[in-house]
């Protein structure tokens, strides 16, 4: 989801290419090298024209926090910086690159911001401190409410410049949580940096299982707000909704086809849950998986040709993969008596799911044929559940639960780096990461 759309009510957000920008990424950082060295980078305090002086540190803070999250950069702390950036640095005056090199920075980000008449103009530049060369320069204009969005955008450009893979800053995570003292559950959105939590529904009923369309414009979810459960489709920008699945008993959306035409859902009739796909327009329904057991939680592959799903046909819930429209259904979870909530990676190369191991729930990823299992999130004192991949596939969000306390956490896909995304909101769960821009 684009934060700028959520932020809304603003003028056009324009980025102007001032310089030859990195149309071809400069591959300084090999993101696939385990334990690779991090790029030492400094984000200088911004030069501030007329307007809000808090932007001088506010925008660099957003950039620094973003870049830190990637675990690809070592940020040189501002206290070590020895040069003050001024407007002159944007009109020909060179930075003191040897000085930046001396404090350990191999790359420097500078910027200037100006607020006038409800418009903010931000120019940001990325330099190679060793060569003294400009790698990236952009100018953005927007409303003050779009400042975070603008900073995230440039952080994505920086990541792309160094790695060739676009960053995921500015994306959102949808989740469910209890609202205050309400016993119901509402849908929420939170920025991937843990900022800007927004309540999406407000009907004090149960609103469950948010799932994004591939373009990030729609959320499908189950709501009990009329008393009986139905799956609704909600336009994230406008808030307009319609019910798309009313038949059957319980129902939970699993995901959309890549073209947005179909919604996959588990729907029960007479106690037996099967997997259906429902045409978003028109409502045509096709059963995709059926059987005597419970078949739930369909997760479409990124190419839309296969689905991963949960079935307890073997006597316990396990993960299966099926080619849509073909016969075979292959079990891919092994070594556990309880495997649920599959989530396909954006590149299609991994499937994450929840597995019960030694009495605890852990998050595992496997290749789509079930080979190469890796445990990516586990806790000695609690459960890790409900994984959902980031749009760049480099990390996953999941629910951590411990004796009624729950939080949302993010872990790198190799399981090495963890952080807390949301805590202190009652019963937070069912996270779903939005597509990238």
């Amino acid at each position: 989801m684009r934060r700028s759309i959520g932020a809304a009510a603003g003028a056009v957000l324009l980025a102007l290419f001032l310089y030859p920008s990195a149309a071809y990424p400069v591959l300084y950082i090999d993101i696939n090298a385990p334990g690779g060295k991090r790029m030492p980078l400094a984000v200088a305090d911004f030069a501030i024209g007329p307007g809000d002086p808090s932007l001088s540190r506010g925008i660099p803070k957003i950039l620094s926090d973003d870049l830190t999250l990637t675990a690809l950069f070592d940020l040189v702390p501002p206290t070590a910086h020895i040069e003050t950036v001024t407007p002159a640095h944007f009109s020909g005056k060179p930075l003191s690159f040897p000085g930046w090199k001396m404090i350990g920075a191999e790359a420097v980000v500078i910027g200037q911001a100006e607020v006038q008449g409800g418009q903010v103009s931000i120019e940001m530049r990325l330099y190679d401190a060793t060569q003294g060369k400009l790698l990236l320069g952009k100018q953005y204009t927007g409303t003050p409410r779009q400042i975070r969005s603008i900073a995230h955008r440039f952080a994505n450009e920086i990541v792309y410049t160094f790695t060739g893979v676009r960053g995921v800053f500015g994306t959102d995570i949808a989740f469910t949580a209890r609202s205050g003292k309400s016993k119901g559950k509402e849908l929420y959105l939170v920025g991937m940096d843990g900022q800007d939590i927004r309540k999406v529904t407000d009907n004090r009923s149960y609103n469950l299982f948010p799932r994004w369309s591939a373009d990030g414009q729609w959320l499908a979810y189950t709501s009990y707000r009329t008393g009986a459960p139905a799956v609704y489709l909600r336009n994230v920008s406008t808030g307009a909704e319609k019910a798309v699945v009313r038949f059957g008993g319980t129902k939970a959306p699993g995901g959309f086809s890549p073209d947005g035409a179909w919604l996959f859902a588990g729907v029960s009739q007479g106690g037996d849950s099967d997997i259906y796909r429902i045409r978003v327009v028109g409502g045509t329904t096709e059963r995709v998986v059926q059987g005597g057991g419970l078949d739930v939680s369909p997760s479409p592959s990124p190419d839309g040709r296969r689905i991963a799903f949960v079935s307890d046909r073997s006597g316990s819930p396990q993960i299966y993969v099926k080619t849509i429209g073909a016969g075979g259904e292959t079990r891919i979870s092994r070594g556990t008596a309880y495997a649920t909530s599959p989530s396909w990676s954006p590149a299609g190369d991994r499937i994450a799911y929840t597995a019960r191991v030694g009495g605890r729930f852990v998050v595992v990823t496997v290749a789509p044929d079930g080979s190469d299992p890796r445990e990516v999130a586990s806790a000695a004192d609690g459960d890790c559940e409900d994984p959902s991949f980031a749009p760049d596939g480099r990390s996953l969000v999941y629910t951590y639960r411990k004796r009624g306390y729950s939080s949302l956490k993010i872990v790198s896909s190799d399981g090495r780096i963890q952080r807390t995304l949301v805590s202190g909101i009652g019963d937070a769960g069912s996270p779903a990461w939005s597509p990238g821009r």
């Binding site: 759309i5 003028a11 056009v12 957000l13 324009l14 980025a15 102007l16 001032l18 030859p20 071809y24 400069v26 591959l27 300084y28 950082i29 090298a33 060295k37 190679d128 779009q146 955008r153 016993k183 407000d202 009907n203 009923s205 149960y206 299982f209 373009d215 414009q217 729609w218 189950t222 709501s223 009990y224 707000r225 009329t226 009986a228 459960p229 920008s237 406008t238 307009a240 319609k242 008993g249 319980t250 939970a252 029960s268 007479g270 106690g271 037996d272 849950s273 327009v281 419970l294 739930v296 939680s297 949960v310 309880y338 909530s341 929840t354 729930f361 559940e385 639960r401 004796r403 009624g404």
Partner: protein
Amino acid sequence: MKGTFSWTRAALVLLIAAVMVGGCAKKQTVKSDGGAAAAPGAGEVQEAPVKEAPAVPPTAMAPALAEPGVAVTEEIPSRFEDVLFDFDQAVVREDGRKTCQVVAAYLKKNPRAKLLIEGHCDERGTAEYNLALGERRAVAVMNYLVSLGVPKGNLSTISFGEERPLDPGHDEGAWARNRRAHFVLK
């Protein structure tokens, strides 16, 4: 990445980049950022936010309900005991059968009574799977009541999965109480 940054490679790329932009004046082109999504509203004509989205006819869309929904989050006390289940099971146990026999006797004496059977789960495991499991529990109880002679038309089911625990605790005792079918006379 191996050891340190490949500055020679970087320099080469920069050199190529420099050659590519060649004689272009530095501040020449002013292009819209392809990645920049326009924000809607405020009188500006923006990229339609429904672009590439499912083409739902506008008439089919209603504004989201802001008012409270039907109260499903409060438990309605029952004159019958709950039917309890084992972990990840939907088999009606012997104790549950006795409860069902009491329920069936009541319904036969009161043939106009309608009964809603709610299926519930404990908090462990995945909410989606638990929703289906709760439904299966409710249906298992319904089927048993039908086998005892209760007309199916007087019975209905709903699952709340793990969303509405009876016991807010987080131990075996609480979980055992929360894996249940709950009866609501309508």
